[in-house]
């Protein structure tokens, strides 16, 4: 068996110089410190993305886009297709866990100030992927064409339409018309299975190459204290096997969630029905939705809703561009303001999400 494997390896190596890559991986080390645990969330996010791709492709075998077919095809997947229920539930649960782990990964990078030079591009690609993940969530939510999804999309695109100048055209572009209809479903399906995955894959490629090229970032304090005496572990096989161990645990967790809490399908969307009471967006949009509710109708000369949207857009932009304005971290100095801002953002998101959830 070993001989066959070696022959195969040799055959490949002759053609693509695999040895160079193995040598590279063998020399790659991952720092060990008390914050090392956060390194794993990037890997878990990657694993969950792979699950999404696999389960998404499997769902594509039976899913039919269209006002008259989408809901029925999901119903068919859930009841008739062998293990269809499992694939659909895992896809839905993974979507949520993916955003959660990506969020944890983003905050850990933020607090470690790992975005500082030379990793600005890694941070930027990561942030863009995070926004795309939200886009995946928003577009995928509509695809079953059920009542909740229909009205959540209506509310979501309505909010986008409020933005001055660009809002209305964006809303019409997203909806494929003035209202949420079958045209919106077709568009969202296209975004979800073609446009977003295409861009995401390119960004993911850049992100992973940069990580491999630049190695794992180390916390500032540690860099200073342990210059030249740092503790490390080989990336291959130690870190990769630990990643694999965590992936197995996550896989089991997903199976438990899918079996004990199968993702509900609800009622088919009806454009003429009234919106169900207490309609809310997905949890990761809830803090923004709740904030918009608290903002008064009019703030100075601005409409309250427009003010809120502009505020979140400016906040998101500042957050994304943090490597370029956090000069202190770039110089290798501690920047407590950044930490406090991050802590406030986490506190704000948690509190507003709880308020939104219980409202």
């Amino acid at each position: 068996m070993k001989t066959y494997f070696k022959t195969f390896y040799h055959w490949i190596d002759e053609r693509v110089q695999l040895e160079d890559l193995v040598q590279f991986l063998g020399k790659k080390y991952v720092p060990i410190h008390r914050h090392s645990i956060w390194y794993y969330f990037g890997g878990v996010s990657l694993f969950l993305f792979i699950i999404q791709v696999v389960t998404g492709i499997l769902l594509l075998l039976y899913y039919k886009s269209g006002e008259e077919l989408a809901f029925e095809s999901i119903q068919f997947i859930m009841s008739k297709v062998q293990f269809g229920w499992l694939i659909r539930s895992i896809h839905s649960w993974t979507a949520n866990l993916f955003i959660l782990t990506a969020m944890i990964h983003m905050f850990s990078v933020y607090f470690e100030k790992s975005y500082r030079k030379p990793r600005e591009i890694t941070w930027l690609t990561g942030m863009l992927m995070f926004f795309l993940a939200l886009g995946f969530g928003f577009s995928g939510y509509l695809l079953p064409w059920n009542e909740l999804a229909f009205f959540a999309t209506k509310v979501g695109t309505d909010i986008a339409g409020v933005v001055p100048v660009f809002g209305k055209p964006i809303m019409v572009f997203l909806r494929g018309g003035q209202e949420v209809t079958g045209a919106t479903l077709s568009r969202f399906f296209g975004f979800h299975v073609a446009v977003l995955p295409g861009i995401f894959t390119v960004l993911l490629g850049i992100h992973l190459v940069l990580i491999q090229r630049q190695g794992m970032s180390e916390p500032l304090a540690r860099e200073e204290a342990l210059a030249g005496r740092e503790k490390t572990m080989p990336f291959f096989p130690n870190f990769l096997l630990r990643d694999l161990l965590l992936w197995l645990i996550v896989l089991n967790l997903l199976a438990i969630l899918a079996v004990f809490f199968p993702w509900e399908l609800g009622k088919k969307a009806d454009a003429f029905a009234s919106a169900p009471a207490g309609i809310k967006p997905e949890w990761y949009f809830l803090f923004m939705f709740q904030t918009l509710k608290y903002i008064p109708g009019k703030l100075w000369i601005l409409d309250g809703e427009i003010f809120g949207i502009l505020l979140f857009s400016a906040g998101g932009l500042l957050w994304t561009l943090v490597p370029f304005w956090d000069r202190k971290s770039n110089r290798g100095e501690q920047n407590k303001v950044i930490t406090y801002v991050g802590l406030f953002v986490i506190f704000y998101i948690i509190v507003l999400t709880i308020l939104g959830w219980t409202a």
Binding site: N238, L245, L248, I249, A255, V259, F261, E264
Partner: protein
């Protein structure tokens, strides 16, 4: 408006004018015109109300020119809506009415204006009915007076002056029938009314008088939901109905019946009210022959099946009312399985006994067994689907099929009226077959639920073993790396 005020002032100033002093009446009597002749019998004349009280002018002046001078407040013949306003000058004033010793309510004009007659107008200048349209002008007598056009024995004629006139009615409401009088004359009410019975219902008894509303108006006394209580005003009063020799418990029975509950409690406008079976203007108890036709207007298939069944002949021979014999009339209860079969509460056993009618007895017994088995199968299937749904399984399609089972059971209730065992069996078997499919799907969903949990258990064990092995493997690698092996 100023004209009305002048008339009102005149009314107040010259009330209780004696006939001898009334120059208007004197002069008009001399001419020998109809109004003055009629007015001598008018209730208003008897109470001392003069011509000038309605027409204005000065009744004390002999000079016609001066008496009928507009400066003296002469109004002449009021036109259009002013007619009712002139009447209302007194009739809407409780104080004024009290002076004349009248106990009439003072809200007639208010009621008239909110009624269908007070709202409709063709010209836009005046409304369709004024006080005089029904009560007349100069010969007005008490409603209790047989000469009054609104006396119970005359009112039908009064109303149909317009309502039986197709040309006239077309201007207001072309879709409103104009055959009410013809129908009424065929009704029990109409026949007795024609014979001089003033206690029976006439137009105003059901529609009201001044406050008549369209039958489509929810406040109307003849709006479908209000009809039972309107009829019950007389028909549930044992005191009022004394002498008519008919029961007075119809409303009580109806309100508890399947029709009454639907109409009065669930506001189901599709449910029948009294008039649906008895007719409205032609109200009469349906004859034995026509009962199935009356019920068949809604229960068409049941009536058809019954008419072509062997029971039709048997019922006709025995002069039994068709539907009523099994279902009763006012107190019809929901048709459940217990009506069928040979148990003491089943209606079949009223005629079919094991000894006297063995064939019918066997068929009734068999039909009951079949329908019971379908009901029980439907119940089991429903429980299984509910259980599967509670466990989070997707059973929408099975739920749709369950509706088909229920539909088959409802169809079987209709099919009973064919009294044909074969036809009935076919309907039941269709339902039983679907129920069996639903049961299988329900059981499969529950099995699948268990399979998922067992599958998860096995997968978890495998993953846990893999994870532990991987952990041990990592530890071994790290140990080797530390020892440099």
């Amino acid at each position: 408006m100023s004209r009305i005020i002048v008339i009102l002032l005149t009314l107040v100033m010259f009330n209780r004018l004696s006939a001898a002093d009334d120059q208007c009446l004197k002069c008009h009597e001399t001419i020998g015109d109809n109004p003055s002749a009629l007015f001598k019998h008018d209730i208003h004349f008897k109470r001392g109300i003069s011509c000038a009280d309605c027409h204005g002018g000065n009744p004390h002046l002999e000079d016609m020119e001066k008496a009928m001078d507009k400066k003296a407040g002469f109004e002449g013949v009021p036109k259009g809506d002013d007619i009712s306003r002139v009447c209302a000058g007194c009739h809407s004033n409780p104080e004024q009415m009290k002076k004349y010793g009248s106990s009439l309510p003072a809200n007639q004009l208010q009621n008239l204006l909110s009624s269908v007659h007070g709202k409709l107008s063709v010209t836009g200048k005046e409304h369709v009915a004024q006080c005089i349209t029904c009560h007349g002008a100069h010969g007005i007598v008490s409603v209790k007076d047989l000469r009054s056009p609104v006396h119970p024995l005359n009112i039908v004629k009064t109303c149909t002056k317009c309502h039986a006139n197709a040309m006239f009615m077309r201007t207001y409401n072309p879709s409103l029938p104009v055959d009410q009088l013809d129908k009424y004359r065929t009704s029990v009410h109409g026949k007795r009314n024609a014979k001089g019975d003033s206690k029976v219902a006439e137009c105003a008894s059901c529609h009201g008088s001044h406050n008549i509303l369209s039958a489509k108006d929810v406040k109307s006394t003849v709006y479908p939901l209000n009809i039972p209580s309107t009829c019950a005003k007389c028909h549930s009063s044992s005191e009022y109905m004394k002498g008519f020799n008919i029961p007075t418990d119809q409303y009580e029975k109806f309100s508890k019946s399947v029709h009454g509950v639907a109409l009065l409690q669930k506001d189901d406008m599709g449910a029948p009210a009294c008039n649906s079976c008895h007719g409205n203007h032609g109200a009469a108890p349906p004859g034995v022959e026509s009962i199935s036709k009356v019920c068949g207007t809604c229960h068409a298939i049941n009536a058809d099946l019954f008419s072509s069944s062997p029971h039709k002949k048997a019922f006709d021979q025995r002069n039994l009312p068709e539907c009523e014999t099994c279902h009763s009339n006012h107190d019809i209860i929901a048709a459940t399985n217990r009506l069928l079969g040979v148990t003491p509460e089943a209606v079949c056993s009223k005629c079919h006994s094991e000894q006297l009618s063995p064939r019918g007895y066997v068929v009734a017994k068999e039909m009951r067994l079949l329908v019971d088995s379908l009901e029980s199968s439907e119940g089991i299937a429903k429980l299984l689907i509910e259980e599967a749904e509670q466990k989070g399984m997707e059973v929408t399609e099975a739920k749709f099929k369950l509706r088909d089972v229920h539909q088959a059971r409802l169809q079987s209730r209709t099919m009973v009226h064919s009294f044909n065992e074969q036809q009935f069996r076919e309907t039941i078997e269709k339902g039983l077959k679907t129920a069996a499919i639903v049961q299988t799907e329900g059981e499969f969903a529950i099995r699948e639920y268990k399979f998922r949990r067992i599958g998860l258990g096995i997968a978890s064990v495998v993953i846990t073993i893999l994870a532990i092995s991987l952990y041990l493997f990592i530890k071994r690698i790290e140990r080797r790396q530390r020892t440099g092996m």
